[in-house]
Subunit: 526 residues, 2 copies
């Protein structure tokens, strides 16, 4: 494992003091020295990236797909050493990390399939109409083209799937953009290992040097420099509201503003409709106790807000939820900072005078560090609507039950909570159609709405939308999960009356790539 | 013509002092009193819009299409009175305004076709995979949904095609969003007439009241209030860099930021390649003299920067350009402010010590007000690269010829000028392939690249991209012209395991709308 900054295909010289990774479970310092990048490294990485871009954007789709698949293969080739390191740095169990590796490799191969298929560029051709009156129509052809170097911030909570070779990197590379990763300081060894896998794939598939670089930093300076750098064209970030907004502000204030795709915070409301509680309150409580506490609740889709109407059904739900939460052992959080935040924020929420604790587990695992104990609390809808603190996200195994008097109050809560990544509805089929106005409100505030399921466990597929109205993300028009994530890094370009043989293959007559195109307003492969 | 603010289907009561329209050609005050809106009108218009949205977004596609067509019909039904008023308020000739009405009506019908076709919602279905290992895949379905009320700022330079019922309004209504128009103060009568046409269409096709409102103001306050209003979800603007940036800043600083689509400024470089000049310098000069001076140069795609390499060909081009510009009579500009700006900025540019005037027409039309005289000037590439003032847009019949020593200098100029709406290349087929690196640079900075044509005259079609890298627009990922303009006002929403009969028709099994959908990664109509 080489903890130096990888710029293009070479490791940069070391001029800074190393930092180390910590195992959050044991508190022990892990092997490996990691060296914070310097401003010159930022500059060099982006100069390389721009140079690589001029070549990479024109590399044919099958070679780009092969590159993505080679990254996936090299990650697998890292073997158990990668899994062990990721577990040690994140405190996440081996089963979870193994699954996450599968997702990471699956994402890379999914984007490879997308690139190889080629239709994602949305080729549109309007042929010349020389005889049109009052004026001829020129030949106009349009497709999506890559924007240039993308800066990817590794996320703490997915050390593989949303980090160095995660969804952001995979989608940016698929779109034709070079990537400069700012490694997350909580899992530098995992980052370095995955970076070496990407570097091997760059070399083995003949990609231009600089299509990928990675920089380390255990502070904020290098991240800021990356966002400010004039050659950066877009930024991806998954983390806190504060972090996302800070990066967005920097990007908006540049002489040439650039987009930041920030996934920031969501409390993922769950509507518990009366008949569903009537029929299966206990089953729903069991399902949600598992969703709230899975992975120590460290998911952006963690269900942090349960909404129901007072009554016997809700009381049965509460009783089972309390019993199930009480039976959950403490779990290791990703970092001491995240654990401290969880403890402080959940304690503060419980101490709000309107809030009543339903249950906090006391099953503390002995001898383990950074442990989070699951907790659920309740508040009346009236009180919830009057105290803005109560709608803030608490990252961890926590959920707040908001008890409404009636359906109208549930609607008020939905109007009030702001944009969300997900919104879940627990309902019997027969009752659902009675709540259309409530469901309309629900749709207006979320990126994904789901029925009789839990929001955790985000499927990676073409139809997935992982991005909701503000403040869940800063731009609800894009997703960070699923194939359409490539759209974040491209823009349309039109060619008018262009020379037939100099057009990109996707727009040439005869459709040499055999992709779906909109030709004179008809979707066709011919 | 009713110059009061139209909020929903009713004209608001009048509490402010009226302003009048001026004929820029004659200087005369035109009939009609127009009443600046007040803050309460903004609030009322947006409250109506939100109420309308809950109904309008769910209205079926054929009824929405009929609404758009009815607007087009009602505009035609206004007859010559509309044309006369638009000419009087803009100083534009009847032929141009008649053509612009055709374009306006054509746009509305184009969006009606798009809505009726229905495939634009990008329906994606990933069916359930109950047996998948290690976990079943849920059923996930995704489509684009409308975001809510859109504020449209009327543009001065297209009193019909980019104003009250122009491309922005048409695309917003097509996408399912209500519209509140801030009328441009330079053509309030035209605006009021077109607003009345839309109102009639709202009523005759049974659309919900508030799906359209229009507010007048001859200052900036109401525009600002509209952008700040918490119920506004998006803003469109075509105008100056200063205006676009001011609105973007307001929108970004809201508690809940919203997108502003600002088309701001572009000097639309034209690359004059050597062999093209060698073969047909005179013909190119003639073509460009017409493009530079068309409509008094008041187009966002006006070719303001001509780029060539010193030599005999370029000298022949200059000689013909000078002769043609000298023969162009003065033309009326849209407003006294625009005319004053043109005179001051072009005079200032000519007085820069590095700049040499090639020709300024002296054919001033007698007895006409607000006249612009066409002018072209030249500067060496070296001097151009050293003086940032020289790359600023001058709105009017103006172009600056930048004379390079060689191809490398042309490349430097392209790297330097920033994002553009268009970039034109005049070339012989045979020489084009020798300039690929230069063309690559050109593609990186523009939204549309064209060969052997002029950038003025933007075709309205599916393949058009009218929006380029900053500062041409503030978001190069979107277009304000052509069918894909609808994408500005929508975001993806995913439904997971949703009740089959409550899904939107676009996502239902059996494809009841008969639209193109991506089903399990295959494009299909079944």
């Amino acid at each position: 494992m080489n903890g130096r900054n990888l710029i293009g295909n070479e490791y940069a010289e070391v001029n800074t003091s190393a930092f180390k990774a910590i195992n959050p479970l044991t508190g022990e310092t892990l092997d490996g020295d990691f060296f914070p990048a310097q401003v010159k490294d930022v500059d060099e990485a982006l100069n390389y990236a721009v140079k690589a871009f001029t070549v990479y954007k024109n590399i044919d789709k099958d070679r780009k797909a092969a590159f993505l698949r080679a990254i996936a293969d090299e990650i697998i080739a890292l073997g158990d050493a990668l899994l062990e390191r990721a577990c040690a740095e994140s405190g996440l169990p081996l089963g979870r990390i193994t699954g996450e590796r599968g997702r990471t490799v699956g994402q890379l191969n999914m984007f490879a399939d997308l690139v190889a298929d080629g239709s994602w560029v949305e080729a549109i051709i309007d042929n010349e109409l020389p005889d049109r009156q009052p004026a001829a129509r020129p030949d106009i052809r349009r497709m999506l083209v890559a924007m240039g170097p993308v800066v990817v911030f590794g996320a703490s909570n997915f050390p593989l799937a949303f980090s160095v070779a995660g969804g952001d990197t995979a989608s940016a590379l698929a779109s034709g953009c070079p990537v400069v990763v700012k490694a997350h300081a909580a899992h530098p060894g995992t980052s370095a290992m995955v970076a070496s896998a990407i570097q091997k794939a760059v070399v083995s598939t003949g990609m231009p040097e600089g299509v990928f670089s990675i920089l380390f930093d255990n502070g904020y300076a290098i991240g800021e420099q990356l966002v400010r750098h004039p050659k950066t064209k877009a930024v991806t970030f998954t983390g806190s509201f504060k972090g996302g907004m800070a990066l967005s502000k920097i990007a908006a204030e540049r002489p040439v503003p650039i987009p930041v795709f920030a996934e920031m915070g969501s409390i993922n409301p769950v509507l518990l409709l009366p008949e569903a509680l009537n029929v299966r309150a206990e089953q729903i409580a069991e399902q949600y106790a598992a969703s709230i506490t899975m992975g120590a609740g460290q998911f952006c889709t963690n269900p942090g807000l349960l909404l129901g109407i007072a009554g016997a059904g809700l009381n049965r739900f509460k009783a089972t939820l309390a019993a199930k939460i009480a039976a959950v052992s403490s779990a290791t959080m990703l970092t001491p900072g995240i654990c401290k935040n969880y403890q402080e924020l959940s304690d503060a929420m419980i101490s709000e005078k309107e809030v009543t604790l339903i249950m906090k587990s006391d099953l503390l695992v002995e001898g383990a560090n950074n442990q989070a104990l699951a907790a659920v609390a309740e508040v009346s809808a009236k009180d919830f609507l009057a105290n803005p603190k109560l709608k803030e996200e608490i990252f961890g195994p926590w959920s707040l039950l908001v008890v409404a008097e009636n359906i109208a109050e549930l609607g008020e809560v939905l109007d009030y909570v702001g944009g969300q990544l997900t919104l879940s509805v627990m309902a019997e089929d027969a009752e659902l159609k009675n709540y259309q106005p409530l469901l309309d409100k629900a749709e207006d505030i979320t990126g994904r709405i789901l029925l009789n399921g839990v929001p955790t466990g985000v499927e990676v597929c073409a139809a997935m939308q992982h991005g909701g109205p503000f403040p869940a993300t800063n731009d609800s028009r894009f997703t960070s999960v699923g194939t359409t994530a490539v759209r974040r890094f491209v823009r349309p370009l039109s060619w008018q009356n262009w020379a037939a043989d100099l057009l990109p293959p996707a727009l040439q007559d005869g459709n040499p790539l055999n992709i779906w195109r909109l030709v004179d307003n008809k979707m066709t492969k011919s």
